[in-house]
Every structure is written in structure tokens, then in C-alpha cells.
């Protein structure tokens, strides 16, 4: 419990100190919706202009934390213990909403994922296929475009990943990075997902075809 004036930029965005860029981005979008001038969540609470100061703090926090240099500088100056606020982990089945960057409306359970048991489909050590990743994403209602926007990964590659179109993907080292970012965006255990996915990719990619991959020129 801290008044706004004592909050760090991370407190303002309600994320752990030192959170990476994609989390800053996500938190900022949620904060924007929450504190929008005519937003639903603040209805009846504020008199004219009162939420203005909170919006200003959010903008400032985003400005500082979204620039790699300004963020690094801010993180350096941030005293340990200055952010004692505890932002608890959101439970798994709600996490996806937090992770939803913008998301489509209404279609909460598309037909494609209805046949699967959510928990079973996302847990256990079943191997991670593109289709399974896609279901995990749909379940959270996240657009591929949004993921591309946040992760700066070419949406076509994301599509190839989901379709297991291994032959069209760039070199494995890049793909691994893509899968990690994608999994993180969806809120999956990224290391485990990447390991599983890459193992399959190796199986399906004949040794002689690697490393060239037609998109990875050296």
C-alpha cells in the first residue's frame, strides 16, 4: 500500500521491478484501458480531472521503461527494496486475460479448441506441436498479429511455427528464439515448450538440409 507519489514506474504499471520489454508493453496496454478517461473501471470514482494524474504517471512510466537506454538507466538507479510491492502471480486460467494484448471479441471458446481438455492440453509432457501452440493461443484469445507486434517477429514465421512448416522456417537458432517469445507471450513455460518444439523440428529436418534454411543467409 503506497500512495501514487511513492510508487516506482514498475509499481505504477503493476509489474515486478526489472520486468522485460514485452511485459512492460502488456502492462501499459492494460493500464491504458483501465484508466481511460471514460473507462468503465473508474466509473463513478473520480471527479473531473482526478484520474489525470494517474494517467500522466502511466505515460511517464511507459516512456521511461519502453526505451532500452532509459530503462537500463532507471533500473541502475532503482534502489533495491524500493519496490516492495508484491504483485502476485495470477492463477493460470486467468493469466491469459492479463496476457491478452488486445484480443478479439466475443468468441471465447472457438470450435477448434472445444474438443480439448484445457488443462490436459497444456500440461503434462506431451510433445509441443504447432497445433497445440495454436490452441493455447486461441484459448487466450490472442491474435497472431498482436504477438508479432509485441515480439517483432514476422507474422509469417509465427504462422509457419503453428503449422509445423519446418522447411520454410529460418535456421534453428532463430526458430528457438521465436518459439520462446511466442510461448512467453501466451504465458506458457517457454523453456519447456521450446525444447519440445525444437526436438520435433530436428526430427523432421533432414540433416543435410540444415543449417541453410532458405531465409537464413550468412
Amino acid at each position: 500500500m503506497k500512495p501514487l507519489s511513492e510508487m516506482t514506474h514498475y509499481d505504477v504499471l503493476e509489474i515486478q521491478a526489472g520486468s522485460p520489454a514485452d511485459e512492460v508493453e502488456r502492462a501499459y496496454r492494460i493500464a491504458q484501458t483501465t484508466w481511460a478517461a471514460d473507462g468503465l473501471a473508474t466509473y463513478s470514482l473520480y471527479e473531473e480531472g482526478e484520474s489525470e494524474s494517474i494517467r500522466e504517471r502511466i505515460e511517464l512510466a511507459y516512456q521511461v521503461l519502453s526505451g532500452p537506454d532509459t530503462k537500463a538507466e532507471y533500473d541502475r538507479r532503482l534502489e533495491p527494496g524500493e519496490t516492495e510491492m508484491d504483485f502476485e502471480e495470477v492463477d493460470l486460467d486467468l493469466q491469459f486475460v492479463d496476457e491478452t494484448v488486445a484480443g478479439p471479441s466475443v468468441d471465447l471458446v472457438p470450435a477448434e479448441i472445444e474438443a480439448f481438455d484445457d488443462a490436459a492440453d497444456e500440461g503434462g509432457d506431451t510433445e509441443w506441436t504447432g497445433a497445440r501452440l495454436r490452441r493455447a493461443r486461441l484459448r487466450r484469445g490472442i491474435d497472431l498479429e498482436k504477438i508479432a507486434e509485441v515480439t517483432k517477429i514476422n507474422p509469417t514465421y509465427l504462422q509457419y511455427i503453428e503449422q509445423d512448416q519446418f522447411e520454410d522456417l529460418p535456421a534453428a537458432v532463430y526458430v528457438r528464439g521465436f518459439v520462446v517469445s511466442l510461448a512467453r507471450c501466451i504465458g506458457l513455460e517457454s523453456g519447456q515448450v521450446a525444447d519440445g518444439y525444437m526436438a520435433r523440428l530436428r526430427e523432421h529436418t533432414p540433416e543435410k538440409r540444415r543449417p541453410p534454411g532458405r531465409h537464413a543467409r550468412r
Partner: protein, 314 residues
Amino acid sequence: MTASTPPHLPKARLVAVGGGKGGVGKTFLSANLAHTLARAGYKVVAVDTDIEGPNLHTWLGVKAPRASLADFVSGRESRVENLLEETPHHGLGLLAATHGNLAAAQPSAARRAELLAALRELPCDFVFVDCGAGAHPANIDYFLVGDEGLLVLHPEPTSVENTYTFIRAAFYRRMQLAMQKHDVRECVREAMDQRNDRGIRTPLDLLRAVEEMDPEEGQRFAATMKTFRPRVVVNEVASTEDIKLGFSVRSVCRKFFGIEVDYVGYINRDRAVRDAILLRKPLTEVHPESDAAVYLQRVAGKLVEAARNAGSSA
């Protein structure tokens, strides 16, 4: 598919279901969460405290309750367990609010306390207390006494407004009861008026004021504030935006009030709900596979988890 009987809880867990506005789904949630847990093998009692507009019995398929809370209020019956009504659902008992007495009175504060103490002693795992609409002191008391307070919210301005009114009223009532010194209590009472002379607008302002008046009471205030943790459920969501409202409300409560609320889930808008009430049966019985029922089960799962955690730390 019969669920195996889960290990019973050492003591009945009281779950109060409240919220500012009428028609947001408090009774729907109480009935269906109670039914979900009963179906999972727990012993559950659902209590309707909405004396002015009792409905819970209808959701649970009891047409004319034989006994009710009104009998307890009037003193006709002093043992709560004798008022329990059987429902068609295994493991699920009902304490109806009233049966046909339009003049039934709200119990006095002392009688309420007796009732709540008796509910805790019922030989069951969960007691759901369905509160009436509005921030009436009786509703707030029922809400505050629960081990768990669920606030039902609709993604609409009217409901958001009443939710904040309710949270604020419940918070001040809780604080007033927790304070020991007369002048501090008086200060809390004054702060309830949004336009008070002390310039206290939010719970955080009030905390500062109390700390200044009396450091010891200030500490008590801060400690009580931490235990005040309502849980929000957004009902009838139709879009991702609606779902996100829960997170936004959590954020607003944190920044504006300094109050932590948990967002425990949402239920989507589903035609199956209407089908169920027309049949006067819980949704979770009529359409257990419907989206709304699945989301209800998730919320129920959270309640079980919380009860188990509380049990193991006690």
C-alpha cells in the same frame, strides 16, 4: 461419472456472495457454486438471506420452503439445523429466507450474530450465504462475516458504480468495528461521507489520518486493511474487454483505495443459463458442459483451493 468423495473440511467454510446491484447474478452464483461443490462430493448448505426478495430456493428446485430464516428471526425456531430444507440435489441443503410472509423482518444485529455463529457450526464443508442487493448494514454484515466474500460484477457502469459503493461501505464498516478508541471510530464514521470536512476521500487518506491521530490504532488499521480482501467475479461477460474489467477493477482498488481484491474468475453470457432457470434447476445440472458451467467450475475450484490453504495454515 461420479466424483469420488473429497476429504471433508474440518470446519464449515462460509462463502458470502454479495455485490451492490440487484440482478447481477448473486443468487445464480450462490446456487450454482453450491451445486457444483455438492456434485463434487462436498456437503453444502445454501442460505438465502435476501428476505425482501428470496429466490435461492427456486434455483435449487424447492418450490415452497417448509421452514425458513423468518422462523429463526421470529423466534419460532431457535435451532438453525432444524430449519434446513432438503433439496433434490445430493449433499445440498437449503436454508430459505422466508415462505410467504411479506412482513418478515430483518433479524436484529444480535440475532444475525447468533445466526452466523450457528451457520459455522453446521456439519458441512461449505456454507454459501446469498446476500441481498444494496449496501444495507445487514447485507454488509453477512458479507463481512464470510471467510470469503465474493462480489459479483456486471460489465456495466451501473454495476461498477454499485460495486465500489459496496466495497467502500463494507470497508468502512469493517474498520469501524476494528477500531477501539472512540475518537478514531468517530473519524472513520465521518470519513464515510465522501464530502467530509477532514478532506478524507479514500481509504488510503483515512489510514494516514488515523496514523496521525493514534499510531497504535494506525497499526491496527493497516493490519485490518490487509485482511480485507474481497474476491471479484465478473458475470455475463461477452467480450475480452469484459473479462479484462476484473483486472481493471483490481488495479483501481489497489491504486485508488489501497485495497487488494482478488479476481477469481468470470462467467460468460450464455443462453443455457436462461434454459436452466426456466426449468428451476441449477445450470450445472442441466447444462454441465456449457461454457458458463465450465467457468463456474473454475471459480468453485478456487474456493476449494482457498479453503484447503486456510485449513492447512490454521
